[in-house]
């Protein structure tokens, strides 16, 4: 059973996270699917992989009328992000917009050649769910994907950070969605960030771009969400982290052998 966590709720404006599916196949990495609703319109953020669709759909419809899903957002091109796209497209509102990084349109089409994609330019963009609630697509290129976006909601002060802030937690355990002990949580994030994030320049530029934003909640696509002071703690930790650890393989790798 996939669980639902309310990250933010104010009237019809809600951020919901669906994840920690107890029936999920452990071979596939655990993912968070996020829905943002306001005034009868919903955007699904990184709706997930093909195998996860039944669980995600089952959990979602407990909370949200599927007919209100007018927008789908794929932060980047990985299969755990959106290989279920053709299935979602069959069940959400007809003609729902599918926002994807412009760079990846031709690649995401491999999941669903019939999908009409709305490309997000490198600079980012904005989509209104209601007159008040407007979601911003913020660049997160090279973190880890060459074209990636986060989603920021200035009213809820929630940042969906995609793979930034992701943590790979031990399988099987059901838990709260919030990080309660940031220092203890670092062990679950460190390996992922060191290896998957490849560009120090991009990391620094991203931190600069989000640092001035009021963020109460940072929710990644894998693992637990951060809130309050933990958001700044995370940015501080990330800014000093040694990343691109895969570069070491060039020295150790088979090509360097005589």
């Amino acid at each position: 059973m996939m669980r639902c966590f309310t990250l933010y709720s104010e009237g019809s404006h809600r951020w919901l996270l669906f994840g920690q599916d107890t029936d999920a196949n452990e071979a596939a990495v655990d993912t968070n699917q996020v829905a943002v609703s306001a005034n009868g319109s919903t955007m699904l953020l990184d709706p997930g992989g093909m195998e996860l669709f039944p669980a995600a759909m089952g959990a979602l419809v407990h909370e949200i009328d599927i007919a209100t899903v007018h927008n789908l957002f794929l932060s980047h091109q990985d299969p755990d992000i959106g290989s279920a796209l053709p299935l979602w497209r069959q069940v959400v509102a007809p003609g729902a917009a599918i926002h994807v990084p412009e760079l990846w349109t031709g690649y995401i089409a491999h999941f669903d050649t019939d999908a009409v994609l709305s490309p997000i330019p490198d600079e980012g963009g904005e989509v209104a769910l209601s007159n008040q609630v407007k979601l911003r697509f913020l660049p997160a290129h090279y973190l880890h994907s060459s074209a990636a976006f986060c989603v920021y909601d200035p009213i809820a002060r929630v940042l969906f950070s995609g793979d930034i802030g992701a943590a790979l937690l031990p399988a099987g355990a059901t838990r709260d969605i919030w990080v309660h002990d940031f220092a203890a949580h670092i062990q679950h994030m460190a390996g992922f960030h060191r290896r998957y994030l490849g560009s120090r320049e991009a990391r620094d530029a991203w931190i600069q771009s989000v640092m001035h934003l009021p963020i109460d909640i940072l929710v990644p696509q894998h693992g637990l969400a951060l809130r309050g002071q933990d958001v700044m703690r995370f940015l501080d930790w990330l800014s000093g982290l040694s990343i691109a650890s895969g570069l070491d393989a060039y020295r150790r790798g088979i090509a360097s052998r005589p």
Binding site: P54, G58, V61, H62, L87
Partner: protein, 251 residues
């Protein structure tokens, strides 16, 4: 095939449906090695046709050198070239062979989608009531119909592709029979060509070897086609059963 839709289905019905989907998926997976055997066997057609074409040209030159004694052999070699043209034309028409892979791959993809939609339906069936459930149930029912239609279309396409390849195999079989007769006739006529006899006997033997290779190729394809066609018809029946299951009304 037409589909009789209804949004009311029992959980047991959905589970039976899932079981049939798994059987169909297994059938497609079992068909893939047969399709590979067909394509692998038929891939030899171009090479054998070319060998036969060169052989007939050389035989015609030899018949020319033999003068009037080679006249009957020349007529036979010209007939052989006609057969080669038929083989080469067949080889250009590979749409059926390519279609086999395409239809198998698409069927597997849509079956996988359909299975996920069915799992979602089963989860939904036990969990929800009210307007939200109606919207979700209707959306899943439409998705199910969409994917079932796609699977049906693909299985029909697969059957058409198999029929195309089977037709090709029958033509090759016909050519093989005629080429065998020509080889026998060349061997018979060789006796009348005096000093050229050895040359024409060699032509007849080489042609028999090529014919034998064509026959082996065809036999391998024919067996794989029979199995594929049988599998396809079984899938078609199972799909028709699924369409009937779509009309099960909840108790």
């Amino acid at each position: 095939m037409s589909f009789n839709p209804t949004p009311h289905r029992t959980i047991a019905g959905i589970k039976r449906y899932q079981g049939v989907l798994r059987q169909i998926e297994t059938s497609v997976l079992r068909m893939l090695p047969e399709v590979t055997r067909i394509n692998s066997a038929m891939s030899k057609l171009a090479g054998l046709s070319e060998d036969l074409r060169i052989l007939s040209l050389n035989a015609e030159l030899a018949a020319g050198r033999a003068g009037t004694r080679g006249a009957s052999v020349r007529a036979l070699t010209q007939y052989t070239r006609g057969l080669v043209r038929r083989l080469l034309e067949l080889n250009e028409n590979t749409a059926g062979q390519i279609g086999l892979y395409r239809q198998c791959a698409s069927s597997l993809l849509f079956l996988r989608h359909l299975r996920q939609v069915e799992i979602a339906s089963a989860r939904l069936g036990t969990a929800l009531q009210g307007g939200t459930a109606q919207h979700a149930g209707l959306a899943l029912e439409q998705a199910r119909r969409h994917y079932l239609d796609q699977v049906v279309t693909n299985v029909e396409g697969l059957l058409r592709a198999i029929t195309d390849v089977a037709r090709l195999v029958r033509v090759v079989d016909d050519v093989v029979g005629q080429a065998e007769s020509i080889a026998t006739n060349i061997a018979t006529e060789a006796v009348t060509t005096g000093s050229h006899e050895g040359e024409f006997v060699a032509v007849a033997e080489t042609m028999r070897r090529y014919v034998e290779e064509l026959r082996t190729m065809n036999d391998r394809s024919a067996k794989a086609i029979r199995l594929s066609e049988k599998g396809c018809r079984r899938m078609r029946e199972a799909l028709a059963g699924l369409e009937r299951q779509g009309t099960v009304v909840a108790a």
